[in-house]
């Protein structure tokens, strides 16, 4: 898999590159600001562009704007937005319209190389990756009479992994249970939450997020 990395901190970028190469990924380009990033994406057409949210000159949301531009101009390029902190509001803004080929993760997640590369693969394949912290924050906001209260702990685990953007197969591997068991839990959760059943991972994450934010 070919990736481009944009981060204005040389220290972090070098660390990221070493780790990703260790994991067998091909880092085809590095950028320290949004303009360089656009140039590298245009030239190399990577599978995924890994983008730091804060970049020069204002260190606020340059990365976000670059990510939006990549998604509109090069829809085949997946975008993974990395940040030193993740916010529910930001995740909603990012994923609400179109979660396809998009990820939003804490930078710390890189150290779990297997999980990180599987997230990158999902994004490259048009799937999504949402940081577990965001998902758990969304789930914490329980309300009175919330159907969430009626789901079992196992179902909750499955729901979290669905919200992170994982496929049934990935969930089965992760929880070390059979694919049929995962399908059963998913169906049960979706029924309890009164969500439309779908096999499409992308539609599934949107439905769950829409439910959680409502």
């Amino acid at each position: 898999m070919r990736v481009v990395i944009a981060d204005d901190s040389v220290l972090l970028r070098e660390g990221l590159v070493s780790l990703l190469r260790e994991a067998g990924l091909e880092v085809v380009g590095q950028a320290s600001n949004a303009d360089e990033l656009m140039l590298k994406v245009r030239s190399y057409r990577p599978d995924v562009a890994i983008v730091d949210i804060r970049m020069p000159p204002t260190h606020t949301d340059e990365g976000l704007r670059a990510a939006a531009e990549i998604r509109s101009r090069y829809p085949e390029v997946g975008v993974l937005i990395l940040s030193q902190h993740v916010e529910v509001g930001m995740a909603m803004r990012l994923l609400a319209e179109n979660a396809q080929g998009l990820g939003y993760l804490l930078k710390d997640r890189v150290t779990d190389l297997d999980d990180f590369t599987s997230a990158l693969r999902r994004i490259a394949g048009g799937g999504s990756a949402l940081d577990p912290i965001v998902v758990s924050q969304l789930l914490v906001r329980g309300r009175e009479g919330d159907p969430l209260g009626r789901i079992t702990p196992r179902e909750r685990e499955v729901l979290e992994l669905v919200a992170e953007g994982r496929s049934n197969k990935a969930i089965a591997e992760r929880l070390v249970i059979s694919l049929r068991a995962v399908q059963k839990h998913v169906t049960s959760v979706f029924t309890k939450l009164d969500l439309p059943a779908t096999d499409d991972d992308h539609r599934r994450i949107l439905a769950v997020l829409a439910y959680l934010r409502s």
């Binding site: 901190s9 220290l11 972090l12 070098e14 660390g15 990221l16 070493s18 780790l19 260790e22 804060r54 260190h59 030193q84 930078k107 710390d108 890189v110 150290t111 190389l113």
Partner: protein, 579 residues
């Protein structure tokens, strides 16, 4: 007091002038009717002009002795009668004098119109016009008479040489001059009326009427110059105007007098006028100027503020607004900013200011209070802003510093983890690097924490200042004269004063040494930081010093910066601390 006494003496003069004026007018009428010729209505009206001016003038003089208007009107009246009376005396000298003084009445009349309502000339143009009329009626008239042959039966005692040609040239010149000056006067008066605030315009109406007679005069003279004969219509109009103008002036004066009746209302309103704007409105109504604004003097700020406590600049000359300063026991209290036409009624202004004295003083204290509240709100807002900016700075420091370092260490540790089996030596080297990196991150976090709250203050201000000085590259000597510890907020403020002052020394001062002193006496803690650098610092130079001032003032203290260019900088903070 001297003007009062003079006023008292002058009071008897108009009474003495009454019989003289009546006698003069009656004599003039008697000569007209007994003259034998046909007497027209216009002749009668013309002959009454003097009496009208004298009568109205004397009444005005008695009612408003301090106002010159009455005296000017009386003078116009008597001078108007000089020519008709002197020409009746059977003497060449008297006749000649009568001709010489025939138009002198125009001088006080011009001054009257331009000076209304207080009788004072307002500008250089006014004075120039009066001088112009004086030149024409006195000097040119005399020169003309030097060359003029009187009609038959009268001899000119001043005749130098009878030369009809020369006399005619001088006469024409005189007449053109009258036309020009009469029109100029009308323009001046009309402009003054147009610029006055609408409520004050009615006050100037008599002056406009007076200016109108000058326009009629100019038309008549123009007609005479072009057609070479007097027009009947303008003669009548001029006569009627001249007779009625003094009445208009008298009524105008009485109306101004009645405006003082508004004073009674003012006193009642002043009792009720509490809260901002009300006093402005009450004074505005009493003076007939709704645009009036009161500016209160705040000694603490050395500037004027409006009734809401907002800073207010007094209008400059030529801005179209006038200012009247109000003092109380010799110190400035307030300033009234008003329409310039109000200055035509100085005694009314004075009376209103005197009546409002107490209310102004009360309201002035209120305005000062509001101004100080504004200042306080500003300082609070700055403290909040400074706090927010500080948080943003801290977040950025953490994000770009410690957080990033720790992340990259985590990455490095993950790399080392992958090598433990294949390349244990490399892994060991990498772990050692991570450990060093962790030490650096810890030091960075300590530095950051010190900026948030200097933990060293727990061990006392002396220890804190010592460690502050030890991190400073220029030698710092510290003298601490404290028997016991200062209250915590004061210690904290003192520490930040020292810290910010040292930071400023590093940034700007180019100093070679610094002295810091902390002492306490009379319930006041004093911290002083003195350097021998280039000076020229002021609190406009950075938010740092302004922020310090806010911090010190929040504790009820004062921050002073003395920094003459080339003379080093002395920053002194004085804060109350109950012992």
């Amino acid at each position: 007091m001297s003007s009062r006494l003079a006023g008292g003496g002058a009071k008897r003069l108009p009474i003495l002038l009454w019989p003289l004026g009546v006698a003069a007018e009656l004599a003039a009428l008697y000569f007209l009717i007994g003259g034998g010729a046909d007497v027209t209505a216009v002749d009668l009206i013309n002959r009454s002009v003097g009496g009208s001016f004298i009568g109205c003038g004397l009444i005005a003089w008695q009612l408003r002795p301090a106002n010159r208007t009455g005296r000017l009107m009386t003078a116009v009246g008597f001078l108007f009668l000089v020519e008709p009376l002197l020409t009746e005396v059977d003497s060449s000298i008297a006749y000649t004098l009568g001709q010489v003084a025939a138009n002198w009445w125009a001088i006080p009349f011009v001054a009257l119109v331009l000076g209304f309502p207080d009788g004072e000339l307002k500008s250089a143009v006014d004075r120039l016009l009066v001088a112009g009329f004086a030149f024409e009626t006195v000097v040119l008239q005399l020169v003309w008479i030097f060359f003029l042959d009187f009609p038959e039966g009268k001899s000119n005692v001043l005749l130098i040489s009878g030369d009809a040609g020369v006399a005619d040239v001088i006469d024409k010149f005189q007449l053109w001059m009258v036309v020009a000056m009469a029109l100029a006067l009308a323009v001046v008066v009309f402009e003054r009326w147009r610029r006055a605030a609408p409520p004050l315009r009615r006050l100037l109406l008599p002056a406009v009427a007076g200016a109108g007679t000058f326009v009629v005069l100019a038309i008549q003279v123009l007609h005479q110059l072009t057609v070479d004969e007097s027009a009947r219509a303008t003669q009548t109009a001029l006569a009627v105007a001249l007779v009625s103008v003094p009445v208009a002036f008298l009524l105008g004066l009485l109306r101004a007098q009645m405006a003082r009746g508004g004073m009674a209302n003012l006193v009642v309103e002043l009792r009720r006028a509490r809260g901002s704007r009300r006093l402005d409105d009450a004074l505005g109504r009493a003076l007939g100027d709704p645009s009036l604004v009161v500016a209160y003097w705040v000694p603490r700020f050395g500037s004027y503020v409006d009734s809401d406590g907002r800073p207010l600049a007094l209008p400059s000359d030529g801005s179209g607004r006038a200012t009247t300063l109000v003092e109380h026991e010799g110190r400035p209290l307030a300033a009234l900013i008003h329409d310039p036409s109000l200055t035509y009624q100085p005694d009314l202004l004075e009376a209103v200011c005197a009546a409002a004295d107490l209310a102004l003083e009360q309201e002035s204290l209120q305005a000062e209070l509001r101004a100080r509240l504004d200042e306080l709100a500003g300082s609070r807002a700055r403290i909040v802003e400074a706090g927010d900016a500080e948080r943003r700075r801290l977040e950025r420091n953490l994000h770009d510093g410690a957080q990033q370092n720790l992340l990259s260490l985590a990455f490095a540790l993950r790399l080392a983890e992958g090598r433990i089996h294949d390349d244990p030596q490399a892994a060991e080297r990498m772990v050692a690097e991570v450990r060093e990196g962790l030490s650096r991150s810890l030091e960075e976090l300590r530095e950051l924490a010190r900026g948030i709250h200097p933990a060293v203050l727990d061990h006392g201000l002396g220890v804190a200042l010592e460690s502050l000085a030890s991190r400073f590259e220029i030698p710092v000597s510290i003298s601490l004269e404290l028997a016991e510890r200062l209250p915590e907020p004061v210690e904290m403020a003192a520490y930040f004063v020292a810290s910010e002052a040292l930071a400023n020394v590093t940034r700007y001062a180019h100093a070679s040494r610094v002295t810091m002193g902390v002492s306490r006496h009379d319930g006041q803690a004093l911290i002083e930081v003195v350097d021998d650098g280039v000076g020229g610092a002021d609190d406009a130079r950075g938010s740092g010093l302004r922020g310090l001032a806010d911090r010190v003032e929040a504790l009820g203290g004062r921050l002073q910066i003395e920094s003459p260019v080339g003379g080093g900088t002395r920053i002194t903070a004085e804060m109350p601390c109950a012992s």
